[in-house]
Amino acid sequence: MRMKIAQPFYEGLEARKLLVPWCKSCGKPHFYPRSACPHCWCEEDYDWREAKGTGVIHTFTIVRSNPPPVFVPMLPFPIAIIDLDEGVRLLSNIVSDYEDMAIGDKVQVEFVTRGGESLPMFRRIP
């Protein structure tokens, strides 16, 4: 069951928007969405702002073997941790070429439907 306070995030994905929660009290963003602002514990609904969708690769790997069972048909596939320009970090997949990928590469969000859900993934950009 998903947290009610995070519901706008999923609604955003359906509209192909990557929304980041900003605290209405302390004014700081965080990600992934917590049950209340982790900085100041404000429990008010967040100010959901659309992210620019750009960021850089903080680190990554190419999974070549032994993934969770449901991911076996997708091998090999890249997982990356991305620093969004807004200053928050998220984990996702890279959907573009990846063999020469490096830490620090710029990426742009791209919405991919998987298992009936829209997920924010990333494409490398120059």
Partner: protein
Amino acid sequence: MGKRSGAIAAIVGIGEVPTGKFPERTALEAAAQVSRLAVQDAGIDKRDIDVIMTTGAIFSRDFNSDLIFGRMVEELGLNGSVHSTMQVMSGGASGSSLTKTASALVNAGLAKNVLCVHADKLATGIAIADAIEVFSSLGIPEDWERPYGQHMGSMAAMLTKRYMQETGTTAEQLAAVCVSARKWAELNPNAMFRKPMDIEEVLSSKMLSDPIHAKESNMLADGAAAFVVTSAERAPDVTDTPVYLLGAAGRVTHYSLSQDADMARFGYAAAAREAFAMAGIGPKDVDIAEIYDAYPVINLIALEEMGFVERGTAGAFVAAGNTWPGGKLPMTTNGGMLSQGHTGAGGGVAILVEAVRQLMGKAGPRQVPNARIAVETGSGGTYMDAQVLVLSNEVR
């Protein structure tokens, strides 16, 4: 001998069974056997155990429920004489957490002798697919990271990639950590993998998630270990080979690896600084570094952060043989999770038991001569924490 004012508590008995694939051995049998071994090693009467503290078993919810709900009390014939039974679980940090919790109880006078027990059956008690499923969920937020295929292996890979980028550490140097572990495991009858292995063999093994090769990954195993904690005051009356807890500290830096502000650094710097200060020692006083080693990068980060070597030089230090048998700083002398085997929370319990075994002088062919002080480290979940214990067979 007198009052041990410099020590927090003491460990006076240890027990362990071989780690590996033991389809015929139930987890309960193993847990009971190591418990009896630890109590016999301490030389105390079983009725002197007043607290049984188990850590979590991962392979079976039913077995873990048994551990929580007093099965060990009954199995050991201690109905009515045990005052409390409880579970203390923090994954790979459980060896440290059991020791800290049990030590606090005996130090406060709330317990006399605490029997700490672990058993798991991750090689033969759970289907491989189910085990992979479990290790794709622990410490990985369901809604936010599991949809992308994150699992323990990819996590270690991303951490290693970042560490290599920041420090210039090479693939060969990472592989050397596995070679160091194997050299110790060759001398450990309880280890799962004891065949000599070199850097080439590690680097030519299958790539799992770049840059982690199969032989840089821990292997799930069956195993069990136990130890007895008593007060520092009582310890010399109990045994001739007490091992004292002189310092303990830790840091929890995150739940999900992606939320660690600085993932290629752990909390070992702060934890070691505090644990060393509590013990009144420095890194130069340490004879053995029993480092929790789910993947080789962890050893390198821990060696650097605890102050044994400078940032970015641990790889060269290990590759030069400094941590092998006969080296300057013996490291993870049971072969660790990389060679003794990964028994869930037991990886951390085994390394604690090994630190005690070395300081008791009971490590047989891999005994480090004249070992006086050992550090033991633990890290649970997604390397969520960094725990450091300082142990010694002397009170300072």
